[in-house]
């Protein structure tokens, strides 16, 4: 069986290598891509979509299918991590540890007993180490700006380098920074696993739903000019707005997948304390 697999792999490799011989030379000005495709994008992008950034227009409009499945692939990566690594442990029997935030006193609660509901106590694990004050304070100061910058990168993708993927990564990194600078429980309190897991496919659905909405208006899938009557703008501006909508979807999906994967990997699938 292994030998058959090896033969198939080698044959495929040889086939692919022989196929690369037919490609035009790298950077060849006479290749079809450079003679037909690139000039069209460079000349027509502004007329077609009124987006100054050609990369964004190609990514989210002309090659919209490609990006939609890229988003789906990212979602699948998060889902695969979840299915393979997530361990659902029942509330471990035995004593639980709580820490009084203001004084730092740790309380051990016997099995079955309950702490009076209060915000002053936080649940900790046996591996808990106090977060460093300097790191905690600076991260608390920086995280809002990081998130603001993430939103800026998503919204400004039309005019400058950026877009949904980059902005989503920055937003996700801000929550991961919170998890690193304090502990995983604090970050999970801000972004519950359920919210995270729901928002992941919601991002993909926003993208695919925008495409499906175009079909409802009688246009092609992902032809955003169909949204013109809905947004009360002309068809060209509608394409620009459509790009923004799908970029937001991409941003949500990427952000949540990053947080999800980090949380699962860092806590070994148990979602308790993490690193």
């Amino acid at each position: 069986m292994k030998i058959i697999g090896l033969i198939i792999a080698i044959l495929t490799g040889v086939l692919l290598l022989s196929a690369t011989a037919d490609f035009p030379i790298f950077g060849d000005p006479d290749s079809p891509a450079s003679t037909h495709l690139s000039p069209y994008y460079i000349e027509k992008t502004m007329e077609d979509t009124s987006v100054p950034n050609i990369v964004t227009a190609v990514l989210a409009d002309y090659r919209g299918y490609d990006t939609m499945y890229e988003t789906a692939v990212i979602f699948t990566a998060g889902l695969a991590c979840f299915i393979i690594l997530r361990i659902f442990v029942r509330e471990e029997p035995g004593d639980r540890l709580y820490r009084h935030v203001l004084t730092g006193v740790t309380v051990r609660v016997k099995e079955g007993a309950k702490l009076p509901p209060s915000d002053d106590f936080e649940r900790i694990d046996t591996m808990w180490t106090p977060p460093d004050l300097i790191i905690k304070t600076v991260c608390r100061l920086l995280i809002p700006f990081i998130q603001l910058f993430g939103l800026y990168v998503i919204a400004h993708g039309h005019h400058s380098p950026g877009g949904g993927f980059q902005g989503g990564v920055i937003l996700g990194a801000s929550i991961i920074l919170l998890a690193i600078s304090t502990d995983l429980r604090t970050a999970v309190q801000r972004m519950r696993e359920k919210v995270d897991a729901i928002l992941c496919p919601v991002g993909v659905i926003i993208y695919a739903g925008t495409g499906a909405l175009c079909i409802l208006f009688g246009f092609n899938f992902l032809d955003y000019s169909a949204l013109a009557p809905l947004l009360h703008v002309d068809p060209i501006t509608a394409r620009s707005h459509g790009i923004l909508i799908v970029e937001i979807g991409v941003g949500i999906a990427v952000m949540c997948t990053m947080i999800w994967i980090y949380n699962i990997l860092s806590s070994g699938g148990k979602y308790d304390e993490g690193l």
């Binding site: 180490t129 460093d132 300097i134 790191i135 600076v138 920086l142 700006f145």
Partner: protein, 107 residues
């Protein structure tokens, strides 16, 4: 104007070079973080000031805004870079890495 910009750029370059040499030459983990954290921050400050000044050659609201953004980068680096260095040192201490003392071998 160009002379000032050149001065700042070369001063920044000087500190960057010092940082790079320091990372290579210092004997252990903690002392190597010292040039990495401090000199890079100062080098970046000087280089960014030079670029912000150079950008103001054609003075207008647009270029002023770009220069302000560059200064903002410096502010954030000033906050983040020492904190990152501190975090790495903290991790080293918590992991139990003993600092180098005189007479020991480089590591």
């Amino acid at each position: 104007m160009d002379i000032i910009v050149c001065f700042f750029l070369f001063a920044g370059l000087f500190f960057f070079t010092g940082g790079a040499i320091g990372i290579l030459r210092f004997p252990d983990f903690y002392s190597r973080l010292h040039p990495a954290g401090k000199l890079d921050t100062l080098g970046l400050l000087l280089a960014m000031i030079a670029l912000a000044l150079f950008n103001l050659h054609h003075f207008s609201v647009g270029t002023l805004l770009t220069s302000l953004k560059m200064i903002l980068i410096v502010v954030f680096i000033f906050l983040a870079s020492p904190t990152a260095t501190h975090a790495i040192v903290d991790a080293g201490v918590r992991a139990g890495l003993a600092p180098w003392v005189k007479g020991e071998e480089r590591r």
